[in-house]
């Protein structure tokens, strides 16, 4: 009887291939997540600091004498007459030349520009402004698409 039990036990072990003692293989977990690459955003350049030049517009138009100021209101009142600041027939060009001479010790030195060239300069300035703005928008675009949403929020 004891021999029979032992034989059955051995037979069970033999036909199961010791599978009763085998442990199930561990599951291999592979986790893949899309990762957004962190792009370091550069520091933007400092803003533009422009200084305005002074334009002088001159022609051979005669200067009109300004009205005399009312001593009470301190406002020009043409009823009181005109001031006498300029010589007879004094033009804008004369005044400009005189002011230049005064600034440069009697020398007549200045840079001149025609109205057409002034228009051209204005066009160029506007063109540069447009370019700065559009380039700025391109920077905004790249920042929008490269800065992770979490950081923006």
């Amino acid at each position: 009887m004891r021999f029979q039990k032992t034989a059955i036990g051995l037979a069970l072990l033999a036909i199961s291939g010791c599978s009763l003692f085998k442990q199930a293989p561990q599951e291999v977990k592979i986790i893949t997540k899309p990762v957004q690459i962190q792009i370091i955003q550069p520091v933007m350049p400092r803003p533009i600091n422009l200084k305005e030049p002074k334009w002088y517009v001159v022609s051979d138009a005669k200067l009109v004498e300004p009205c005399i100021k009312d001593p009470e209101t301190m406002k020009p009142n043409c009823k009181l007459g005109k001031q006498d600041l300029y010589p007879e027939g004094y033009t804008y060009l004369d005044r400009f030349i005189d002011s230049i001479k005064k600034k440069h010790g009697g020398d007549v030195v200045f840079t001149a520009m025609t109205i057409a060239d002034y228009e051209l300069m204005t066009y160029n300035t506007q063109e540069i402004r447009r370019y700065i703005n559009q380039l700025g928008e391109v920077i905004v675009y790249y920042r929008e698409v490269t800065i992770p949403k979490k950081l923006k929020d």
């Binding site: 037979a11 033999a14 036909i15 199961s16 291939g17 293989p25 599951e27 291999v28 977990k29 592979i30 986790i31 893949t32 997540k33 899309p34 955003q41 550069p42 520091v43 933007m44 350049p45 400092r46 803003p47 533009i48 600091n49 422009l50 200084k51 305005e52 030049p53 002074k54 334009w55 002088y56 517009v57 001159v58 022609s59 051979d60 138009a61 200067l63 804008y92 109205i115 057409a116 002034y118 228009e119 204005t122 300035t125 506007q126 063109e127 402004r129 447009r130 700065i132 703005n133 559009q134 380039l135 700025g136 928008e137 391109v138 920077i139 905004v140 675009y141 929008e144 698409v145 949403k149």
Partner: protein, 119 residues
């Protein structure tokens, strides 16, 4: 009978178990891959949407800047500046200087806005 059972187990059940395990792993890998694909597609979709919105905004702003420039320069088309400057140089001098100041200030403001992006 024991030997037959042993042989059956070794040559039929064990290979089936191995195959089953392999198929389980394969299914798991497929599931992981599937999930990965779904997440990747979602990320690409989101990225496209963000880029699309940003691009639309960019185009709109660029058009506005073109219009702004044309409007500003239109003053030279509407007026004979040379004639005006000849007749009223004092008045035009004021306008030229005021206009220059305004444009330069506007450029400074524009650059301020761009520089402030990194804040």
């Amino acid at each position: 009978m024991g030997a037959t059972g042993y042989l059956y187990y070794q040559f039929s059940v064990v290979p089936m178990q191995v195959e089953l395990q392999e198929l389980k792993l394969l299914t798991m890998a497929q599931e992981v891959r599937n999930q990965e694909q779904i997440e990747t597609i979602a990320a690409i979709k989101e990225s496209f949407e963000t880029a699309g919105v940003a691009l639309k905004g960019l185009q709109l702003k660029n058009q506005q800047y073109e219009v702004q420039m044309s409007e500003y320069l239109d003053i030279f088309r509407r007026h004979n500046v040379a004639k005006l400057a000849s007749a009223k140089p004092g008045l035009m001098e004021l306008r030229f200087n005021k206009g220059t100041k305004e444009v330069f200030n506007a450029i400074s403001e524009d650059s301020n806005r761009i520089s402030a992006l990194s804040d």
